[in-house]
Assembly symmetry: C2
Homo-oligomer: 439 residues x 2
Amino acid sequence: MEKTKVAIVGLGTVGTGVARLLLDHGDRTARHAGRTLWLEKAVVRDLRRSRDCDLPAGVLTDRIEDVLEDPEIEVVAQLIGGLEPARTIMLALLESGKDVVTANKALLAEHGGELFDRARALGRCIAFEAAVAGGVPIITNISQCFSANQILGMQGILNGTSNFIVSQMDEQGWEYDQAVTEAQRRGFAEADPTMDVDGTDAAQKLAILAHLAFGARVHWSRIPRVGIDQLSTTDMRFAKELGYRIKLIAHARLVPAGLELSVAPTLIRIGIPLAEVRANYNAINVIGDAVGDVFFHGQGAGQMPTASAVVADMIDVAVGRTPITFRTLELWSQRESPVAMRPDDDLPGRYYMRFQVQDRPGVMAKITTVLGNWNISIASIIQHEPDRSELQDGTVPLVIMTHEAPEGAARQAVEQITQLDVVNPNAVRMRVMNDHMTS
Amino acid sequence: MEKTKVAIVGLGTVGTGVARLLLDHGDRTARHAGRTLWLEKAVVRDLRRSRDCDLPAGVLTDRIEDVLEDPEIEVVAQLIGGLEPARTIMLALLESGKDVVTANKALLAEHGGELFDRARALGRCIAFEAAVAGGVPIITNISQCFSANQILGMQGILNGTSNFIVSQMDEQGWEYDQAVTEAQRRGFAEADPTMDVDGTDAAQKLAILAHLAFGARVHWSRIPRVGIDQLSTTDMRFAKELGYRIKLIAHARLVPAGLELSVAPTLIRIGIPLAEVRANYNAINVIGDAVGDVFFHGQGAGQMPTASAVVADMIDVAVGRTPITFRTLELWSQRESPVAMRPDDDLPGRYYMRFQVQDRPGVMAKITTVLGNWNISIASIIQHEPDRSELQDGTVPLVIMTHEAPEGAARQAVEQITQLDVVNPNAVRMRVMNDHMTS
């Protein structure tokens, strides 16, 4: 049987999982690739650190040159996180004639153009299924299975940490801080979870998906994003009363004027599959003009789901599928982006708004007058009789669901309302997902 | 730009959709394949029949020889249903040097071995994404994306007609006949829906998926199957009372002794994604030992979703991905099947049973004694106080949910119970899906 020599750079959690699949289950790659993927080298920084897998003698090394200088190693899983030295190592691997598999979405979101151009110039390829949604094979599905479609939109839960925290808040009634502590205790959140909870991680993944689906070359930092760190269980309770759940949604939609992209806590009607995604799962709904909507749900991270995606990529590279896909799709090439990102303020949407208001006559008239001035129509209002605990700071919650209105009008109306003397300055405003997008 | 000449054989609903995607949206195939798919010929039986799409002059023909004898046509979408002349035409296409894309699952389930062997011998390939679950790209996902996994099990709703009927019965409270009439009126069921409602269609698709996932070469007719045509709303109501919905489930599971395969109405706990699949949608949950469970949901049939899958296959063939996959996977080859189908009677499962019993003393003791003799343990029982309408034939429903028991014991226990003089001979017995299979 043919043999393809491969290497792993970075033997952390995912790297160890990849090593295990290659070493313990060589029969699978033989069956699915018609060849053996032979693990020749695994490069680590510290040789003395104990590892959770038994490597054959001579495989472990702390010298990247052992990979770069071995012309027989054809495919390398580059599993170092962060931007540097990951970028430099990736370029060195390409220069030395290796095809590269990576799970590093931050690197692609930041330096995708440079890396893909260099790979093309060198006749090499880069595979990155594991970079978005871990075990859910969304990269292959969008770039291969839906190629007869114009993708019209996508909505995804792309950050498992945030979804775990939000689900705990929803199901247990916990406040944000308590849910974060539980996520950290269960290993679903880092000691510093900032990148997960502030929407950065989801925006980086969305930038990659938007590139695949729409050819849009958008830097992730240009995607408007709101995290879950300001989310309150008060709003989750009101949302449920209105028939919705709140999820951190990465949203993309093709509209006549361009492309809408955003990451934000969003209300989704209960019963729609995305609203029912629990724990640390990921899910994506893709809408194609021919195929309709297709929904994917699975483990978005974790050792073996991510390793499953990395090894599938290594097989695809070794047998020759990825080189074809990489060549035909011209990802992150200098070709002009066919869609322009639409200016935010024109984006129409429905909104959930919560104001903390003083419980006295005339307040409702003042607020609804501002909304009327901005031409924002009200779909429903909730104001309950106050209980004592809510009245502690002298205000009660007033919740308004709007009909469709431009983002700019909604934002400015909320700003004006919070300047009223009867309204607390801390208002909440969230988008409501359009049901029509998900049939 | 490079050009690949293609043809369509059979211009029915799906064929017309394929022609539209190729003719109206050539830019997509150009963007995703780096080449034009040029529709050279469309072969039909009757040239005079009016068509729902405008073909350029010279494309339409009633002579298959126009395709067979044109060496420039490389890829053919063979979209004729049934076994003959579909099989003969497919062989002729392969012999004349064409790669073939098909949506005909009955043909593959019946003659897959012959057709794939012939294609291999001729150095050609066959693509069949559209044969199972239409727009849900399950073939590519199993044969490519999960290749680092041992698939442990699958549960699918693979027949949209049945799911539409069952969903209507569940949501509207309609009996089977009324739901069938509605499905026919809405175009979701044929005038003769036998193959859909008796489980044949789902068994054919399951045979194909089982071959891909487990290497099992099982003829669909050997898969035990029960349709939905005997399903009663009485059981749907009792199931809901117990916290379950009834769906027609195609089931596969790898067990130490071999492979379980079945198609049958099955109770699924409400809230599990498969239980929430509505209307004519298809869905599949795949469990891999590395990736965990991944759930897919989308349109399983219909003109454009199926055409989307066919054109994606044509692109994959034209760019060269399918030839690689076809060569490495050795589908339906003469290699021995690595798994044996397990004899039915040993399959363990949980069961829902409904007996119509006479409302008099001692009945419960007689029934539970038989279950005890077969070593079947009872998880829950429902017997409501009878209302007058239920007593018309002098019997009342008695519903029993069992703990896990072998299929053979459950079957024989029900047979013995229905021979009791206090029990109506028409009992109902259905499997309950194991929650652990779907996390």
